[in-house]
Amino acid sequence: MKDTLYLAWRYLAYNRIKTAILVGSLTLITFLPVGLNVIVGQSAKELTARSEATPLLVGAKGSPLELALNSLYFESETPALTTYSEAVRIEEAGLAQPIPLYVRFRSRQHPIVGTTLEYLDFRGLEIASGRRMAVLGECVLGSRVAASMGVGAGDTVVSSPESVFDLAGVYPLKMHVVGVLKPSYTADDGAIFVGLKTAWVIQGLVHGHQDMAAPEAASGVLKREGDTITANASVVQYNEITPDNIDSFHFHGGMSGYPISAIIAVPRDQKSGTILMGRYEADDEISQIVQPATVMNELLGTILTIREFVVAALLLVAIATLSTAALVFLLSLRLRRREIDTMSKIGGSRLSIGALLVSEIVAVLLAGVLLAGLLTVLTAQFGEGLIRALLLG
């Protein structure tokens, strides 16, 4: 047997390109369905872990999936906006702790998450360097953002305009980085956290500008009617919040009408959660409450169905590949007819010659399966990081 295996090895090594192509094809066709299964399994685990850790989400009526994706992973379009009054309503009901979120703006590709400090506690996010945001205009960076932007506490980041051509829209705000979070290996690593009011500053709802009562602003005043001053466009608006100008920042209108994208509701207990959900059942209710785990499971159900289709397609490809491999082996046998005849003529036993040919096929199949196994192990080992990088940006 040792001699047979040696001859088989010599043949495969000599025809290394043909062998490599066969092994490569078999590896891929074995690995793809198995690897896909592992990846989908890990993705599902990754998605459900986050959704299961978030009991309830409240937002304006619309797509529950959009609400969940935006609030959990800071992905997808901004859902229909609700108002801060919704958070107040939950707070006043005493059934759950509301954690408002305003996920709308970005700094380059990184989402800016306007929220309260309770969010950091709720997600168990710890500071790696610096401190939490405390004052208007401050921000805390997720670990991946800090690494990719190369910034840390003491630096600044600038919010991006929503549209380059929207001159009357949102102006960039230079924010002061006061802290960087420890890696949590979740979507939080890729986000920039600011106070809710800072998010409203980015939108321009809270703003600061030069004192219109001051003599140097006189050229910008159009008219004065009692306490009301109407200014023209030459008034200097601040795009950075500093100790010198922070007092000039002010709200127009009541805070309860200001927009937020969602509220994470953390019920006091299961019963409170059920009651809270019941309160959003009314037909005339303009808000919706969703259980993120349910929403994500529905999404996963769709993904799993797609996976089944993909696996079915891969099986067909596998049959085609194996047929081609069989054809290659048969053609190879025909090409080696003379070699087989020579071995027979000089007295090679049928068993040895047969074993030689079979062991070559088995070696190729085995190499393909082993490599596929190795790839699967590597996928299981490092796939999670890959998924985070791909799914969570």
Binding site: Y14, M343, K345, I346, G347, S349, R350, L351, S352
Partner: protein
């Protein structure tokens, strides 16, 4: 060494038929077989080696009636008792020189590949003038060198019978003489029988007997 009586053979496809009423080759004899192409010289070697089986008649090689043996037993007999040399060398291109020489020991369990056999293979290669090329792939060898590798392969099991089918047919005059010298010297030194099919009449003086296959060809054409 070889005794043939009333041998009749016909391929299942094609009209070729062979009839050899009597043929005997003594042990240690060097015999050349000549004759026109297609007259059945190679077929006769195949029958003597037990590669083909006759429809009737007897072929006794080294005192064994091959016609009475099963295929597996004939292969075992062949690999231990007969060294075959072919015109086209029939080397395995994916093996190096040494592995080609050792091939018979790797494809039949009745031969045991020992350290001694490996040593003999290296010595044989040295005697053939290819001792410095044992680790080379056979594709890197000249025609003459390839045939010497094929001869080494045939001689390694020290067979009592050598069957060579136009062993010099593809060689230049220098290599032709060299290869034939090797075969003759081996046969003389070991007392082996050498049966060679050849078209080259210049080589006939090296043999003790020449069998003109024309006589069998004429008989063959009369086979119904």
């Amino acid at each position: 060494m070889i005794s043939i009586s009333d041998l009749r053979f016909r391929y299942s496809e094609g009209g070729f038929a062979l009839h050899v009423p009597e043929l005997a080759v003594e042990s240690g004899e060097r015999v050349a077989i000549i004759g026109p192409s297609g007259s059945g010289k190679t077929t006769l070697l195949n029958l003597i080696a037990g590669i083909c089986s006759p429809q009737s008649g007897r072929v006794v090689t080294n005192q064994v009636n091959l016609s009475g043996l099963a295929d597996g037993a004939r292969r075992d007999f062949r690999i231990r008792n007969i060294g075959l040399v072919f015109q086209e060398f029939e080397l395995l291109e994916y093996l190096n020189v040494l592995d080609n020489i050792l091939l018979p020991y790797r494809i039949n369990a009745s031969l045991d590949l020992t350290k001694k056999v490996r040593q003999r293979a290296v010595e044989l290669a040295g005697m053939m003038g290819i001792g410095d090329k044992v680790s080379r792939n056979v594709r890197q060898l000249s025609q003459g060198e390839k045939q010497r590798v094929a001869v080494c392969r045939a001689l390694l099991a020290e067979p009592p019978l050598l069957l060579a089918d136009e062993p010099t047919g593809n060689l230049d005059p220098t290599n032709k003489d060299r290869v034939l010298d090797i075969l003759v010297e081996y046969a003389e030194s070991k007392g082996s029988t050498l049966v060679t099919v050849t078209h080259d009449h210049d080589l006939l003086s090296r043999f003790q007997r020449v069998i003109d296959f024309k006589q069998f060809y004429d008989l063959s054409s009369q086979v119904p």
